[in-house]
Amino acid sequence: MPRLVGQSFKRVEDPRLITGEGRYVDDVQLPRMCYAAILRSPYAHARIRNIDTSKAEKAEGIVAVLTGKDILGKIRPLPCAAHPVPEMKTPTHYALAVNKVYFVGHPVAVVVAEDRYLARDALDLIEVDYEELPPVTDPQKALQPDAPIIHEDLGTNLAFEWKIEGGDVDAAFAQAEVVVRQEFVNQRLIPVPMEPRCVLAEWDAGNRLLTIWTSTQIPHLVRSLVAGMLHLPENHVRVIAPDVGGGFGQKLQVYVEEALIGYLAMTLDRPVKWTETRRENFMASIHGRDQVGVMELALKRDGTILGLRYEVIADMGAYYQLLTPAIPTLTGLMLCGAYKIPAVRMSKKAVFTNKMSTDAYRGAGRPEATFLLERMMDLAAKELGVDPAEIRRKNFIPPDAFPYTTPHGITYDSGNYEEALNRALELVEYEKWRKEQQEARKQGRYIGIGISSYVEICGMGPSKAMPAGGWESATVRVEPSGKVVVLTGAHPHGQGEETSFTQIVAEELGVAPEDVMVIHGDTEKVQYGIGIFGSRGLAVGGTAVYIAAQRVKEKARKIAAFLLNVSEGEVESKDGTFVSRHDPSKFVTWQQIAAAAYDPKNYPPDMEPGLVATAFYEPSNFTFPSGTHICVCEVDIETGEVKILRYVAVDDCGKVVNPLLVEGQIIGGIVQAFGQAMMERCVYDENGQLLTGELTDYPIPKAHNAPKILVDRVETPSPVNPLGAKGVGEAGTIGATPAFINAVCDALEPLGIRHIDMPLTPARVWKAIQKARQP
């Protein structure tokens, strides 16, 4: 049988998805099902004086109308899983607002009706008497003494302060021959998964069993938390996440609506469905990024980096969601990037504002770190008059330094940063473009070249470093016919693990890929698991699958030895059979072994029947993918338009199970980074109104915007797991933003432009050019 692992095997999930046979939560229809609609605050900050639901209750087809007061004490507040510092201030997060609303979109009341239209109509009949309060929208102003306090019981808008430090930072800056300083905005983004959130709940009163279908990345964690919120034993809650139309971290969450819809199904004893509208998704599902800070880099005149410091204000939004406080800490972990930086410090103030919570969005804290550092490397190169490739090369952690521990205690597993840089320079034809750039400048054309050499932290992660467990589970179950079922706790939502896990199991067991079925996303079918986020699907989830498959194979080998009447050591696995090494005529098929395991008449006397194994894999460390991306662009200085002429990505995600999936993830990730770099910005006005509340005002890259990308790889296997895999789900998003910005800033250098904040829309680029031209 040809090898499967390492091959570009076509995605097994695609036929159903591209023919419309996928099954999403909103496709699930149940008898007697009714529909919920949620009334949301039109104000960013207001006191609720009174809510009159009487007209709504009398409207056609209404089953129930509930407000925050009706459910007080019945649904526990939503917990947050991340606690970076013990003195962190935590607001109470009720499912529906009780006395105050804290952001536009804050749930205030819920209507349940016989159909979606009637539910929506009834929202207009609820009368809420609000007393408007002054909102806090600017995170920097949130800490001023005269700023309105959002959570009055906390007495401050400062959620917490956090610091990470390694090496002697002050000494590094005292010794510095050059200090480069820059303010940066990592703007607020909206994740925009294609499928908005959707929740359906059904209450089985006889068994006191609540089933919740929800579009989530983490079905088991949703079960644990929602059970607690609803005062139910965990084994009386079943969570099903069927096909999920993208998550990007926005569904690495437990949301109040999941508990609320569950509560409604229980109390009404009818199935209740709620499907988020796109506008609700924009207002009330988590946003990403939103850091404003200043970075300083201390260097010697020869380009050697001595130290780095970053002071930042991170906008939490009005509440914490599942991991809100932890996201900017990931920025701190990766501040040293690909370089030997002997001293590093990040000081963070996390603040509350009257906006939707921020949380994990593809990359989660690491794109911020890469963006800051890789912009600084270019600024330092310009300051010192050296080539941006050279200053990187000079400071790279060398390949023989791994495992390498940063001054603040992060241990990188493996890497070869210079190899990726060299390969990218070669593929992009760096020298040729530098010459072209010079020629173009003579003609008044502005070409720029931007390099980004990144390292990121993923394969999340060892449990001791994770808020809610960092392991993953898998069961490999061989049925009596020899067909194989894989139950994975790593529930994918678009990445393609049904395919990569099939490849791993089929190869390990020597069965045909079509004989393997991967099942996930149902807490009643699959043993407890953590889920897919932080690029952990393959490195952690895949390793659990691999270990479980090995255990099944070992048992099968023992059964084979017994059936062949030879010693275990004499049996080898070959093309779906087990064969005697010495006598190839003696073999048993996989089907014969499976049959023997379930009908154990002729069977090893001391062996349990059945052919199933479960593995819980705990990684010893994170993994650290890396790479170099190079962008070549031309700026039309008359309009501010940026045209991407060439984009090369050379990534190291460790050993690759499926190059097709890797390429798809890299390209998708880069396009998402292109969105942040060039297009996207979530805008609230000073009253806290969300101005980018629809896809007509919030731009995401479309096919015609996306640059053409040349993808290549270098490979340093991770020593952390037996697959040697590192992870690739976020690498593109993490690595790419500074390549775009560096390219544009490089192009505009002759005009005296040093930095432009993202996104580099034509309007912003043009403004920067106008400003630079002012005398």
Binding site: R116, Y117, R120, D121, D124, T277, R278, R279, E638, T639, G640, E641, M679, V683, L691, T692, E694, L695, T696, D697, Y698, P699, I700, K702, N705, T761, P762, A763, W766, K767
Partner: protein
């Protein structure tokens, strides 16, 4: 997104549609391609009590040659305008402009009459309609038809010269004269695909001089407009690039540009000037090559 309740009518003849419009008056909204009305209804920004759907009136959809005029039925889809061989030959500006509208799905449903009646200040068609000096034929429930010149049609933000009881039946475009070239250039609002600025130019050459020129600009002002200052300054002139560049500086004269989170007034006015220059140069080049 769920619209408020509404009464729905789908007449199969123009007469029936006009009768319904007379009956329901201001309570009614006319549904053509629905690419603006339906989203507005779903967001409850529009809550008409009655919707009159024109999609089943078959004889409002056509593109035909009537001597020196191309007549386009109001319910003709953008895709049909974009791909019409007749238009590409006799009025390529309209096809080029239609190709810039929305995306494939929008072009498959959206109609020329619907777009003009809606008068979105950032829609593409108005620029080309103005540059082509088109006429818009309308009818009221009494069967009285009138023809409105493009320059009179766009009145203000989402406001046209159309009376509440009138329907657009046809758009009439003069066919290009010999030695005529045109171009439509646009800077997109990145999210919606609408124009931050769209400039349509039609130029007719006479030997080495510009005999006639029309410039229609959309996206910049509350309504699409003709850049008369540019046109007047170019007529009879030789089309050298420096003249064009100089004249194009007047593309936003007398206009109060729109401002929003995507672009401020200064950038929109600047785009009007730059895109006018570029569209003029392109159109002149095409005219000279024709």
């Amino acid at each position: 997104m769920f619209p408020a309740p509404f009464e729905y009518h789908a007449p199969t003849t123009l007469q029936e549609a006009l009768r319904l419009l007379a009956q329901h008056g201001d309570n009614a909204k006319v549904l053509a391609g629905g690419q603006s009305l339906v989203p507005m209804m779903k967001m409850r920004l529009a809550t008409p009590a009655v919707v009159i759907d024109l999609n089943r009136i078959a004889d409002l959809s056509y593109i035909r040659e009537e001597g020196e005029v191309i007549a386009i039925g109001a319910m003709t889809r953008h895709y049909e305008v974009e791909t019409s061989e007749l238009l590409k030959r006799r009025c390529p500006l309209l096809s080029e402009c239609a190709a810039h509208i929305g995306d494939v799905q929008v072009r498959n449903r959206g109609t020329i009459g619907g777009s003009l009646a809606h008068a979105d200040p950032a829609a593409d068609y108005p620029a080309a309609i103005l540059a082509c000096d088109a006429e818009i034929k309308v009818i009221n429930p009494n069967g009285i038809e009138r023809v409105i010149k493009a320059t009179d049609f766009f009145v203000d933000l989402f406001t046209t010269a159309l009376q509440p009881n009138e329907l657009i039946t046809e758009v009439r475009i003069p066919a290009f004269a010999p030695k005529t070239g045109s171009a439509y250039l646009k800077m997109e609002q990145l999210a919606s695909g609408f124009a931050l600025c769209g400039v349509a130019v039609k130029v007719t050459m006479d030997g080495g001089a510009i005999q006639d020129v029309r410039v229609g600009i959309t996206g910049v002002a509350p309504k699409a407009y003709r850049a008369f200052a540019v046109e007047d300054a170019l007529k009879g002139k030789s089309p050298d690039p420096s003249t064009v560049e100089q004249v194009a500086q007047h593309a936003a004269d007398g206009v109060t540009p729109l401002e929003d989170i995507h672009a401020d007034a200064e950038y929109r006015a600047h785009l009007a000037r730059v895109l006018t220059k570029r569209a003029l140069l392109k159109a002149i080049e095409r005219a000279q090559a024709s």
